[in-house]
Symmetry: C2
C-alpha cells in the first residue's frame, strides 16, 4: 500500500507545477521585480468603471456570488449574439480547462496538443490520467492539419488549439480555424483557447456556431480586460455540452467582486479599444527595442511579443535569468524551437525603458 | 456512442446542483430577499481592515495572485503554530474538498459521511465516481462511532465529519474528535470540516497534530471572517499529504483581492471576537423568537440555529417557501430527521425583526 491512499492517477503524477509564479521567483532571488512582463498580464489594467464596480460591491463580500453568474452570462450572451445556455462562467480559463478535462479525460484518454503549447492544459489532462500526444509547431504556428491527423491517428477525444497562440503570439485566420472545426470527427472535441482573441486583428475568430457539439471556446477577463487577479473567464459551446459542465463545476466558485468587475469591464468596450491601442503601441515599441539590439520579433496578435534570439534555449534561459536578477520579469518558452525566443508582455513606457536597458545589459553579459 | 464523448463517470452523473442559490430563487420568484439568512453567510461581514486591504489592492487586479498564497500561509502557520508546509490555501472549502476528492476518489472508492451532512462534499465524491455510504445522525449529532464502524465495514478511503455540524449546529468536544482521529485506520483519511470552528466554544477543536497523515482539516474565511464572496479557505495536514494536493490544485486559482482581504481579516482578531459576540446575541434572539412562536431551538456552535418545528419535511418546506415569498430567505435541511427543522443564519436586529414577523405569518398560514 502507498503511504497515502491516493488514486492510481494521482499517485503517479509528478510533483511539478505548470508555472513558477513571479512572487515565488522574487522570494527565491530576494530581488523584487520592478518590471513585470513575464506572465502575459495586462499592465494597463481594467476599465476604471470595472474598478469602481468592484469597489462598490466590497461591502457585499459577506455574500456568496451568484452561482449561475446570471447577470454576466446574460450580458455575454447579448454581446456575442448567442444564448444564455451556451455560456458557462468559471474561475478563469485554467479552472474551465480543468472542468473540461474532468468531463472528457479518464485514464487512457488520448489528447492532442502542440509541443510547447499551454502547459496548464497539459497539467489538467495528466491530472485526470490522460495521454498527451504532441504535434509540432510549423513556422511558429500551431498546425491545424497536423493536430487533426494526429488526433485521428490516435483516436483523441480532445484537441487543444489556441488562437492566437501563447507563447509565440502567432495566429490563424478564421477560415483556417473554421476548417479545423469542420474537420473534427464526431467523438472529438476541439478545445479552442481564445484567451487573447480581443487583441487579434479582425477576421481571426470564426463566427459562433452554438449548434456544433464538437467545439468549446474559452475566453477570459484576465488578458485584454486586465483582470487576471480576479479569476474569471467563460466557455462557449452547444447548450447540451455546456449543461454537462454543470455536473462537475464548483457552483459557488466565482468571486462576487470578480462578477461585478467583469460585467462592468464588458460594458466598457471603449476602454477595451483604448487598451488594445496601448498594447499595439507597446508591441511596436518592443519590436523597435529588439531591432535596436540586433534581434527580430515575431508578429503578434496578443498582448506579448516573442523576440527571436536566434540561439538555443540555454542561451535564452541565461538571458531571462540575468534580467530577472536585474528586476525585469520576462519568460522564455520551455520547449524548442520556441525556446530560441523570449516572451515579453506589453508594458507601459517606463516598463519598456527598463526592459530595453536590461536587455542590452543581458545581451552584453551572457 | 454517447452524444458527447464524456467519461463514464460524468456520463452517469445526474444533472443536479448541491444548492440552489438565493439569486436563482429570487429570479424564479421575482421576489427579492430583504432578509438573507439561508446560506450561512455572515451578515456582519469582514473586518473594516479587510475591506480596506481589498480596496487597496484593487488597482493590482491586473496581476495574477501569488500561486503559493505565501503571505497568507505564513500568517496562518504562525497563527496556528504549525508549519508553512502544512497548509494549502484554496478557492474556499468547496474547491479544497473538490481537490481532496480528486486525490483519493476514483470509480468504486468507498466514502463515508452522515446522512444529511454537507451536500457539496457528496457532489465531489460522486463527481469522481465514488460510492457514498451514510451513517445516520444520532440525536442531531454526527455519530463518530457509527462513521468509524461503517468506514471499517465498507473499506472507506475517506470519512467526512464536520465539527460544528451544518445543518444542525451541533458539535462534539475535542476529546470525542480526537478519539475519532485516533481510531482512523491506516489507508483512511478523515476529512474534518471545521468551517464554523471559530464560533464554537473553547475545547471543540482538537490540537493540531501535523505529523498525522490520516486527517485533513478544512477552515475558511467564508463564515466567521465574513468573506463568503471572496472564495478563500485553507486545508491543514501532514506535509507530505498537503504536497500531494499540489499535484491537482489550480495553482493560480485564488483571487488576488481575496488573498489581501483574508490576510487582513486574520490579523484583526479583535474584530473576529466582536463578530462572534454579535453572532451569539443573534443566536439568542433567534431562540427567543422561536420560543415565542411555540418552537424550540437546538443548541448551536455555529452562525446559524436549527429551529425544531416538530413536524415533517413537507411542513418545513412549506414554511420556507412561504417565507421566501415574503422576502425572507432561510433553508430547510433536505433529509429526515433534520428536515423537521428550519435553519436560520444569525442576522442583524432588522433581519431578525422581519424574520420574527414572517415566521409568525408562515406558522399561521401553513
Amino acid at each position: 500500500m502507498n503511504k497515502y491512499p491516493l488514486t492510481t492517477v494521482v499517485e503517479k503524477l509528478p510533483a511539478t507545477v505548470p508555472f513558477v509564479g513571479p512572487e515565488t521567483q522574487e522570494r527565491q532571488s530576494k530581488i523584487p521585480f520592478k518590471t513585470r512582463l513575464g506572465a502575459n498580464e495586462n499592465v494597463f489594467g481594467p476599465s476604471p468603471k470595472a474598478i469602481a464596480a468592484m469597489k462598490n460591491v466590497l461591502d457585499d463580500i459577506w455574500m456568496y456570488g451568484d452561482s449561475e453568474n446570471h447577470d454576466l452570462r446574460q450580458a455575454l450572451a447579448k454581446f456575442h449574439g448567442i444564448g444564455y445556455e451556451n455560456i458557462v462562467v468559471g474561475e478563469g480559463i485554467d479552472a474551465l480547462l480543468g472542468y473540461t478535462c474532468r468531463m472528457f479525460v479518464e485514464p487512457g484518454t488520448k489528447v492532442v496538443t502542440s509541443k510547447g503549447a499551454y502547459p496548464t492544459f497539459n497539467y489538467h489532462v495528466s491530472g485526470n490520467g490522460g495521454e498527451l500526444h504532441f504535434a509540432p509547431f510549423e513556422g511558429d504556428h500551431e498546425n491545424p492539419q497536423a493536430l487533426l491527423e494526429l488526433a485521428n491517428a490516435r483516436g483523441a477525444v480532445l484537441i487543444y488549439f489556441s488562437n492566437p497562440n501563447n507563447p509565440m503570439g502567432s495566429w490563424h485566420n478564421a477560415d483556417v480555424v473554421q476548417n479545423l472545426i469542420d474537420n473534427i470527427r464526431p467523438g472529438t472535441i476541439l478545445v479552442l483557447d481564445e484567451a487573447y482573441i480581443e487583441m487579434a486583428p479582425e477576421g481571426v475568430a470564426p463566427k459562433f456556431d452554438v449548434s456544433n457539439p464538437g467545439v468549446l471556446r474559452f475566453r477570459t477577463f484576465s488578458k485584454a480586460y486586465g483582470m487576471a487577479g480576479a479569476r474569471i473567464g467563460y466557455c462557449i459551446g452547444e447548450a447540451g455540452l455546456i449543461a454537462q459542465m454543470e455536473k462537475v463545476r464548483n457552483h459557488f466558485g466565482v468571486n462576487r467582486i470578480a462578477q461585478a468587475g467583469a460585467l462592468a469591464a464588458l460594458e466598457d468596450q471603449d476602454y477595451l479599444q483604448q487598451t488594445i491601442a496601448e498594447i499595439t503601441t507597446a508591441r511596436d515599441e518592443i519590436g523597435r527595442i529588439a531591432t535596436k539590439h540586433g534581434l527580430s520579433v515575431l508578429p503578434s496578435a496578443a498582448n506579448f511579443v516573442a523576440i527571436d534570439c536566434a540561439k538555443d534555449g540555454e542561451y535564452t534561459l541565461s538571458l531571462a535569468n540575468y534580467m530577472s536578477q536585474k528586476g525585469v520579469f520576462i519568460r522564455r518558452p520551455g520547449i524548442a524551437p520556441q525556446s530560441r525566443c523570449i516572451r515579453v508582455s506589453a508594458g507601459r513606457a517606463g516598463d519598456l525603458l527598463r526592459f530595453d536597458k536590461v536587455l542590452g545589459d543581458a545581451l552584453a553579459a551572457v
